[in-house]
């Protein structure tokens, strides 16, 4: 009895000590990562906001607070407005194409059993290769008739030659096509995983009730896939909003040409920051990009929450 009571106190002490030790261990484990997130992620973000209100450039680092004048400046800059408009075009052409094509592909893949992973493997290859490499390959394929393999194929089909990247109207859609080719693999994998998560009983039950293929697809499969469609649309929208590498590598001297017809927002930011060294203007443009991405993400959360209701 006595012994038992004596041993309770040190045991309590042990537990408290252990708890302290665990708390201290946790903080120790988190110390470097927290410093990292504070100094490499959080502080630069604040810094970018701050810089967008100054007239700072890297050559003469005299910071002066200029209020909203960088923002007024970019919205009065025709080149910025072109880049904003082009970015919206990338999103509007690109996102529906990627989603529709990859959904169709995933549905087809879901029909077959043999070679399914083989096809998936081939579709995802462009997604994992360096965009710089694929951009140059496509730039080579988009060349004029005697050398461009796509134009040769068109003439083989009896179709007229196209200018592709050399034309102010065709360059942007050409870059979108390359990007769609890159992104399809990613979306097919996610769609396929979503399709395989749909309980077979739902489809069986509908089939027993006499639903045909089209009804199964539009009344059961696609509605159940809705969260995946929303998720991928948001991911692809953000990806197209941030488009840079393809444009830099597929246009002459990375200019976003011809005549700014392919210039996206991020390339505008790059040119302002690292060609004209106008950090104030460039950071103001990054804040605009940030707000657009934030808006899309909030919209996604709202839409997804609404879906959960029923």
């Amino acid at each position: 009895m006595k012994r038992g009571r004596d041993s309770v106190a040190p045991l309590w002490g042990e537990i408290v000590k252990l708890r302290h030790k665990k708390v201290l261990t946790a903080y120790l484990f988190l110390s470097i990562p927290l410093l990292f997130f504070a100094f490499i992620r959080f502080y630069p973000m604040i810094s970018a906001f701050y810089m967008s209100f100054t007239n700072w450039n890297i050559i003469s680092p005299v910071r002066k607070f200029v209020g909203l004048s960088n923002y007024v400046g970019i919205f009065n800059d025709p080149v910025f407005m072109i880049s904003l408009f082009n970015t919206l075009k990338y999103v509007l052409y690109g996102v529906p194409s990627v989603i529709v094509l990859s959904l169709a592909l995933a549905l087809l893949l879901n029909n077959v059993t043999k070679f399914q992973s083989f096809y998936r493997l081939i579709y995802v290859m462009p997604y994992i290769t360096p965009i710089v490499a694929t951009s140059w390959v496509w730039r080579w394929m988009y060349q004029k008739p005697p050398t461009g393999v796509i134009n040769n194929f068109l003439s083989f089909l009896g179709l007229p030659a196209r200018n592709f990247l050399m034309s102010t109207t065709e360059a942007l859609p050409s870059i979108v096509a390359t990007t769609v080719w890159v992104e399809i693999g990613y979306c097919v994998i996610i769609f396929l995983a979503g399709l395989q998560n749909i309980p077979k009983e739902y489809l069986e039950a509908a089939r027993v009730d006499g639903a045909n293929r089209r009804q199964l697809l539009f009344k059961i499969t696609i509605p159940l896939l809705n969260p995946v469609i929303v998720f991928l649309s948001v991911m692809e929208t953000i990806m197209f909003l941030r488009i840079f590498t393809q444009v830099y590598n597929m246009t002459d001297q990375g200019s976003g040409g011809p005549l700014n017809s392919t210039l996206p927002l991020v390339l505008y930011i790059y040119q302002k920051a690292f060609k004209s060294f106008d950090m104030g203007t460039a950071t103001a443009a990054t804040v605009v990009l940030f707000l657009m991405i934030l808006g899309i993400t909030v919209l996604q959360l709202k839409v997804l929450n609404r879906r959960v209701q029923y």
């Binding site: 708390v23 261990t25 946790a26 484990f29 988190l30 470097i32 990562p33 927290l34 990292f36 490499i40 630069p44 973000m45 810094s47 970018a48 890297i58 592909l105 087809l108 893949l109 029909n111 077959v112 493997l121 579709y123 462009p126 997604y127 994992i128 290769t129 360096p130 965009i131 710089v132 490499a133 694929t134 140059w136 390959v137 080579w140 394929m141 050398t147 393999v149 040769n152 080719w181 693999g185 994998i189 996610i190 293929r213 995946v228 998720f231 991928l232 948001v234 941030r242 840079f244 590498t245 830099y248 001297q253 790059y270 920051a273 690292f274 990054t286 804040v287 990009l289 940030f290 934030l294």
Partner: protein, 273 residues
């Protein structure tokens, strides 16, 4: 019913194969072009008449491609090991320890996912030029040493480890770090492998930040080197395609070896929605 099923299957295979050819063709064209001598490169036929490896010799001896290859390897491997270690350590700590501020810390880390890289690049550049990080490996690597997404992922997997297992190790006198390193980490190997490979690919392919933080050609990564080399040799498509092949082949090899982990990693990244 069975007949129409067979029809659907047949049509599916035909369409899938046609699209597979479209997807794979640019790779064929890249490799075929890299095997053509310069006098054949502007000729409109698919296969080289006199295939040659001369372009590869040229690229390996007369350009900095071998060096860029090495740079990319160093950068991609170092960031991947760092991400594997720190992301799993943080994920483990948040999943398995209770301490004041745990939820706030987790939310703080997750909230950094909202910040687009493009917004941070200018402050990073200013920071790097002040601290002398321009044209260094550290300068290229530091933004990717720890990732919020990886932490989120590892936390999910660490949560599935039973506490009893960790407590048993504690009673056996294993140190707190030892429990993480020798008990928890081996249990999440598959997830860790997927995270590692996707990170390797991402860092191998990264373009915007290396383009900005590096100005000396000797410090270029492969994508930056390829972009610069290509715009300097615009008429020599056979060399550009050779460079593109050289930067793609290692990834195709990694991909073929680790395809399971890659596909799973992509699926996991889709789960975060």
């Amino acid at each position: 019913m069975a007949r129409s099923d067979r029809m659907v299957k047949l049509v599916s295979y035909i369409v899938l194969t046609a699209l597979a050819i479209v997807m794979i063709f640019p790779f064929f064209w890249m490799v075929l072009s890299s095997l053509k001598p310069f006098r054949e490169i502007y000729r409109p036929y698919l296969f080289p008449k006199s295939p040659t490896l001369a372009n590869y010799q040229k690229i390996m001896s007369a350009s900095l491609f071998p060096r860029w290859f090495l740079n990319s390897l160093i950068v991609a491997l170092s960031t991947t090991f760092s991400v594997m270690f720190f992301d799993s350590l943080v994920g483990y700590t948040i999943a398995k320890y209770s301490f004041p501020g745990r939820n706030i810390i987790f939310l703080f880390i997750l909230s950094t996912l909202m910040i687009p890289t493009e917004m941070l690049i200018i402050p990073w550049y200013v920071m790097s030029s002040r601290l002398g990080w321009i044209d260094t490996y550290w300068g290229i690597m530091f933004p990717g040493m720890i990732t919020a997404f990886g932490i989120f992922l590892m936390k999910q997997f660490m949560e599935t480890i039973p506490d009893d297992l960790l407590d048993a190790a504690r009673i056996d006198g294993v140190s707190e770090f030892g429990i993480f390193w020798r008990v928890a980490l081996p249990l999440v190997k598959p997830a860790l492998a997927s995270l590692a490979i996707l990170n390797f690919i991402g860092n191998w392919n990264a373009f915007l930040w290396p383009l900005i933080v590096v100005s000396k050609p000797r410090m270029y990564t492969l994508p930056v080197g390829l972009a610069t080399f290509s715009s300097e040799n615009l008429m020599h498509w056979e060399l550009i395609m050779t460079g593109a092949t050289v930067s793609t082949i290692p990834l195709i090899i990694v991909f073929l070896i680790f395809q399971k982990q890659i596909i799973r990693g992509i699926m996991l990244s889709g789960l975060k929605g």
